[in-house]
Amino acid sequence: MTEKPSPRHDINPAIGAMLHSARDFLTHEHALFSSLGLKPLLVGRGQTRFSFDVPGEFGDGDGSAHSGFLTIVLDSIMGLTVFTALEEFKPIATINLRTDYLDRAKCGVRAVCECRCLNIIDEIAFVHGEVATEEGGALIATSAGAFIVGARGAAKASRL
């Protein structure tokens, strides 16, 4: 019933292969993510760190990205982080997400999203995520989310 993220840093090989394919698809083909210049900095068991662009197309009209853009990134990377903590591939879906916006993200800069899967219990994964500027590391947003592991019904896989 409990699938606690292991203290080991190695990802299950099958999950690793899936993430590798997902990275190639997201980077080159996906209509949303291919514009973000996603770059994996760390992909370990239950933890990830990606850098990405803050494109002007998500701007709020004042030179900063709309805060909703950060939620798009956080939901995506937090979901990906759940996969790294699994022993076998299972579809997941976001149950809920709470995000605090600590500062504005300027369009045109690069930022870093770092996430950690805190625990998986009763098929619920709890994840924490942060976004900071790549240069200087100033915190922009923090988020806490819950994901169902082994999503059923119409949602047969992650929203990612």
């Binding site: 709309h66 798009i72 939901d75 997400l97 709470r98 047969k156 896989a157 992650s158 929203r159």
Partner: protein, 143 residues
Amino acid sequence: MSAAVENRLEIVRALSASPIARWLGYSAAIEEGGLVHRLGFAERHIGNPAIRALHGGVIASFLEFASEVEFSASLGRPEKARTVSMSIDYMASSKAQDMTARVVIARAARRIAFLEATGWQGDETRPVAAARVCLRIGEPARE
């Protein structure tokens, strides 16, 4: 169309000019006296192409933006509001199609406003997601 309704729609048009509004395919109309917000579906809103559902973060962005517009329209002027925090519950899977939302202002104080946004696809009685949004309103004193 009354002057008040025309004014609200003018505010919607002004706020819809931002890049994020265009990216969301955002629009709004007045129905039964209240604003009804719409996400105009586009392929870029898809998260996982295997299931052809709206990305959860896109839904969150839409409800957050709709909350900002709702608040400004209630004031009768395009007020710049910054989101402090938002929490969202995903209650049903979404489809690759438009999403509609209504927003209720739970409380608007001098500096902070609390709003509740609900989004659905087709059937308003079957919400896809519900968000609570906290906005910082007015011009903060710069430190």
